[in-house]
């Protein structure tokens, strides 16, 4: 038996949002009487943490701590339109809609505080901890709690805002293909190390070093979640997954988690994650959508590493032990 080692690299980019645009999302923001903020959406959290990151975006924009923002989603009776959670669009599209809504609400909030403090609203700022103060004079302040009470009970004002984000739809030119698929792109580069058993074709991915450029890590712990989980799925796509193992034959499709293969907890590659941030000019606080891209660069990096290890190319996914073994036998027969 020979275990042979190899290393491969791949570099990719990924368009943020629905291809060719035309995918709107809307948000409504309003304050409660005690200065908490409701964000009403019809957007779906698939588990990636949309609700948490939207709360942080709203909190940053209004100038309150995140725990004072409540995300109410998804109910079509109350939530304004969102095209959906797909195409790495959630953070970018919905985040932008929330920023617009939150800015409008913040504007009203500062107007109310200005009236209470008897200053101009343009002279006011938030401290991020729940207070509004006169710029340069932090002792002249009012809490957002009191500001909301004032708006509700004295001034009869609604501290609220409406937000909408739409990248206009692009229609490809039929002959040249001139088009605008996206407004911003995330980037990634992966170096994968593998071991290949040249008698069985079995591959062990020993390590992946993933570098992602994602615009802005709005919540780094959640970014890490998605990039680490995505990397696992990339490895899975490279080596394991298909519903039709003998495609284009329709026979022998897996029907459960024993037959549909994904790497188990004993198959994990040592995973290093590095994040770069080049803010997107139209991203919410610069953020792009890395959710889908997270699973892409590992696939070719592993394919290239396998070639580096044993000198055969498998150009069909998934790169199963069987496909590697067949290629190795051909290689031996040719020599």
């Amino acid at each position: 038996m020979a275990i042979r080692r190899g290393r491969g690299v791949a570099a990719v980019n990924y368009p943020t949002g629905m291809n060719l645009g035309g995918d709107p999302s809307q948000a409504l923001v309003h304050s409660t009487p005690t200065g908490n903020f409701m964000v009403t959406l019809s957007s779906v959290d698939l588990g990636q943490g949309l609700k948490q990151v939207m709360a942080q975006i709203c909190a940053e924009t209004i100038g309150v701590p995140t725990e004072r923002v409540i995300i109410d989603t998804a109910d079509t009776d109350t939530g304004p339109h969102c095209m959906g959670t797909f195409a790495s669009r959630g953070t970018h599209r919905i985040g932008n809609a929330i920023i617009q809504a939150a800015r409008e609400a913040r504007h009203v909030m500062l107007e109310v505080a200005a009236e209470a403090l008897e200053v101009n609203a343009t002279d006011l700022d938030t401290d991020g901890e729940g207070n509004i103060h006169v710029k340069g004079a932090p002792q002249r302040s009012i809490s957002i709690f009191d500001t909301a009470l004032t708006a509700h009970f004295k001034l009869g004002l609604s501290i609220s805002g409406r937000g909408m984000f739409l990248v206009p739809r692009s229609y490809p030119e039929t002959e040249t293909g001139a088009m605008k698929p996206s407004t911003c792109y995330a980037h990634a580069c992966t170096v994968a190390d593998v071991e290949v058993d040249d008698e069985t074709g079995e591959v062990t991915v020993t390590s992946v070093k993933n570098v992602f450029e994602i615009g802005r890590a709005l919540n780094p712990r959640m970014v890490e979640q998605q990039l680490v989980g995505g990397s696992w799925m990339g490895i899975s796509h490279a080596l394991y997954e298909t519903t039709e193992p003998y495609y284009p034959s329709r026979e022998h499709g897996g029907t459960d988690f024993n037959e549909y293969l994904t790497p188990g907890p004993g198959d994990l590659a040592e995973t290093e994650t590095i994040v770069l941030e080049r803010p997107a000019t139209d991203g919410p606080y610069g953020a792009k959508g890395p959710g889908e891209m997270a699973a892409n660069p590992q696939i070719p990096a592993i394919a290239n590493a396998i070639f580096d290890a044993v000198g055969v190319r498998v150009d069909t996914l998934p790169i199963t032990p069987e496909r590697i073994l067949r290629a190795l036998k051909q290689q031996r027969a040719a020599h």
């Binding site: 038996m1 008698e199 069985t200 394991y240 193992p245 003998y246 026979e251 022998h252 499709g253 897996g254 024993n258 037959e259 549909y260 293969l261 994904t262 790497p263 188990g264 907890p265 004993g266 198959d267 032990p321 069987e322 073994l325």
Partner: protein
Amino acid sequence: MGLVLRSFATVNEAGAALSEPGARYLGGGTLAVRAVNEGDVSVHSLVRITDPQLSRIELSEGRARIGASVTMARVAANPGIAFLAPAAMAVGGPAVRNMATVGGNLFAPAPYGDFAVALLALDAKVDARKDMPMERFLETRGALAKGSIVTAVSFALPSEGGFRFRKVSRVKPKGTSVLSIAAVIEEDPDGTIRSARIALGCMADRPIRAHAAERALVGSRRTEQGIAAALAVAGEGTHPVTDPVASAWYRAEVLPVHLRRLLLY
């Protein structure tokens, strides 16, 4: 029509219930309840036996007798049959092992039934209405007499280090078999192989013996040279399955590789 569970204290009472149309034996539930959950409406009643005798492991005079209701987890935890732990641990994850029974594994179609592969290598005896050697049982398991119930398996304990087991799967640590191999190799003090029984999983629709390889091993030693003839005939008589995990071609290709590793390492 619906579904009913019928519990019986003894094998005899259950036997009659199992003879009825639409009746299916309930062991650990990993096969029977799954079938019901997946919409198998041909099952009208599940029949189980609560007799504690079926959950016993007995060791005496160099033999082990394992009741049909003993779970994989209980097998793996029993120090008297510690050599079997790797085979029991090869079945499912922890929850499945707490449910799946020895009796059930005897009926599991490929690619399942790794424990039955071990029992086949041990040349176990299957206690049903009448006793049957494993190999014969496996050949006829689909056509057991209606109401016939497996109550236990028994086998002679192999000598220290004489039992070897290897399961190959794509997913670790728990995965469905590409193949599994169990072997009981008895060697003379000088290393000459006195007897060999090799059982293969996924190399047919049921566990099968590699008789040609067994014959080739007797009289030689567990060295590269000594096992070469056995490896060359390892695939004789096999009809590997093709399934989502691996093709028959792949299974046939890697059988000698894994048999070599089983025998030498």
